[in-house]
Symmetry: C2
Subunit: 354 residues, 2 copies
């Protein structure tokens, strides 16, 4: 790996690598033929001078939680958003930092689309949902929301550092950091920048699918390698659960075209089988016969935080930038999310006195 | 942006930028205070010497198609895998290249987990599903599948170049490239490396959600900026559609715990309302009231290729590394996918004579 730990020596380095931070990096005899030679020879050296201003900014932040996922689209940003809403509703002072530079969803999920960042003499001001919930994202900086952010790693890393150095959060109980999927530049940078100031740990979000769990294992390995505690794993989209009355009914035909017969079907149910109307319809969308996240957690020795069902009402709340806790519409998912947050937070406050 | 087009000048460059490839990059008067100054001053200069061996390798590949998505988890790799299966079933010679370095799902989705790459004097040999379907992925190179690939951009770019330079595909009708979500290192690299050899275009996969469509707009912008034709947009997970008989029934209780009453409910339906058993249950998982991908395509002037429903059987086929076309289990999604492929390919073959 390229970061953290033992002198930062890349895995594919030659024997007797002097280390990429060394003055002789890329230039010593041992560097001949190493695939990293050119990068090492030209990269800036020495300890990172940005770490001091970052530490100063972070001195007013009690807890820092990373939200990670191996695979994209598992609901990581939805979870980060709802976790932040939940913490704010518990009267904590909360900051939510979106470091997904190429695909920032956080502004939309907090209902803050079209907002802009303001500068003061204290630094960049977050955009506030409520007085105790501030948000920072590159999404607030794009002149046109359709613009692609076509940035290679160094520029992404530069912006993440600026977020950490220049944003004036004030006193925070919790800083929730929503990371993009994977284990690359953004992840290495956030860990390198925050590690000295103390990261409470990472929450990893997954779906029950094997393809997602494979990537979660990589994410757990990442945390272990860089020394970040895994607070736990959330299994999201654990089956689709909704009122039978909300389901649509289609009549299949030979040609593959389906006719919508929902009105007829609901009347038929009311007449013939009314007890069905009180039932919830549950579909296992993603095959979890492999044991899902619970089994993976057991195997990898990390806590399992719970399952959240795939709830179209939660998807809708996320699209509309609303908290799922503010009314009863997301009942199915909100109760699951709430018990996850409650499991997570009392522990942390007891340990650290937030 | 950092790549492609007009002399490669970054968007945030100072006026009179000499261009990052210039000998005076980072050193001219115009560079003072530019955020890219350090990177430009230290980066290697001149045309990329790898482009020649890449062009030689690609000379035997008729068509190159990128599969992109703005957001992760929208089913891009599932689509890439099934597109490759479909093309192979049409007797084309197909290569599938996975450039998602940190989260390679392709080996699992093609049923090739645990396989390894072999070297010959012609180069790295792809792993073959069938004689006319070869696959290359970093997933074949990891000693332990749980290992995280914690790589910054330059290493990812290096491996992508190696894939393009060193893999011996032989004669191919189609090379399908499955990219990670976003618009960063991997995307810039694959376009820079392949553009001189001709890329037929990109297929962009999305879900109907607004948060996904926002990112797709960025992906379309990316294609326009780097001059890649958008072959079209696929709307995946367009509602969950399955036989009512496959749905489970839960009885809700006051405490929020649900009891599984599926056996009772199915018997009750058989007794009271048997006509329901032939119906398909359809749930709109992601809110598409914004008009979904079709409206977005219209607004951005790119072709809409079609919708694929969220089909648990397709998810299962992907998990098990099977083609969804080989039997009738994935009927709902397979027919949608097939018509998308058929729309796409006759056009291409007519134009280019594959």
């Amino acid at each position: 790996m390229e970061s953290g730990g033992d002198g930062d020596i890349p895995e594919n380095a030659n024997e007797h690598c002097p280390g990429p931070q060394s003055e002789s990096a890329g230039k010593s005899d041992a560097c001949e033929g190493c695939p990293n030679q050119q990068i090492c020879a030209t990269a800036p050296k020495g300890p990172d001078s940005d770490l001091i201003p970052i530490a100063e900014r972070m001195a007013t932040v009690k807890h820092k939680i990373l939200v990670l996922s191996g695979k994209g689209g598992v609901g990581k940003s939805t979870f980060s958003a709802q976790l932040s809403f939940a913490l704010a509703a518990m009267d904590y002072q909360v900051g939510l930092l979106d470091i997904d530079i190429c695909g920032p969803s956080i502004p939309k999920m907090l209902g803050l689309e079209g907002q802009e960042i303001h500068q003061s003499n204290l630094g960049w001001s977050p955009v506030y949902v409520e007085s105790n919930l501030g948000v920072m994202s590159i999404g607030f900086m794009l002149p046109n929301p359709d613009d692609a952010v076509i940035w290679r790693g160094p520029r992404k890393n530069g912006l993440i550092k600026q977020f950490l150095k220049d944003v004036y959060w004030g006193e925070l109980d919790f800083l929730v950091v929503d990371a993009p999927p994977g284990t690359s530049d953004e992840h290495i940078s956030i860990v390198q920048c925050l590690q000295a100031t103390g990261i409470d740990g990472a929450i990893i979000v997954t779906t029950p699918q094997q393809v997602s769990l494979i990537d979660v294992r990589k994410e757990v390995s990442f945390c272990k390698k860089v020394g970040i505690k895994v607070l736990g794993v959330v299994e999201n989209m654990s089956g689709l659960c909704q009122q039978l009355a909300d389901v649509k009914f289609l009549k299949p035909s030979e040609t593959g075209k389906h006719t919508d017969v929902t009105d007829w079907a609901l009347q038929y149910i009311r007449d013939q089988a009314p007890e069905l109307l009180n039932m919830m319809a549950y579909s296992e969308v993603f095959d979890s016969s492999g044991g899902g996240a619970l089994k993976m957690c057991h195997e990898m020795g990390v806590p399992f935080l719970g399952k959240v069902p795939l709830d179209p009402q939660l998807c809708k709340a996320a699209e509309e930038g609303r908290s799922c806790f503010e009314d009863q519409t997301c009942q199915v998912s909100a109760s699951a999310l709430k018990s996850i947050v409650e499991n997570l937070i009392p522990k942390r406050t007891a340990e650290n006195g937030a």
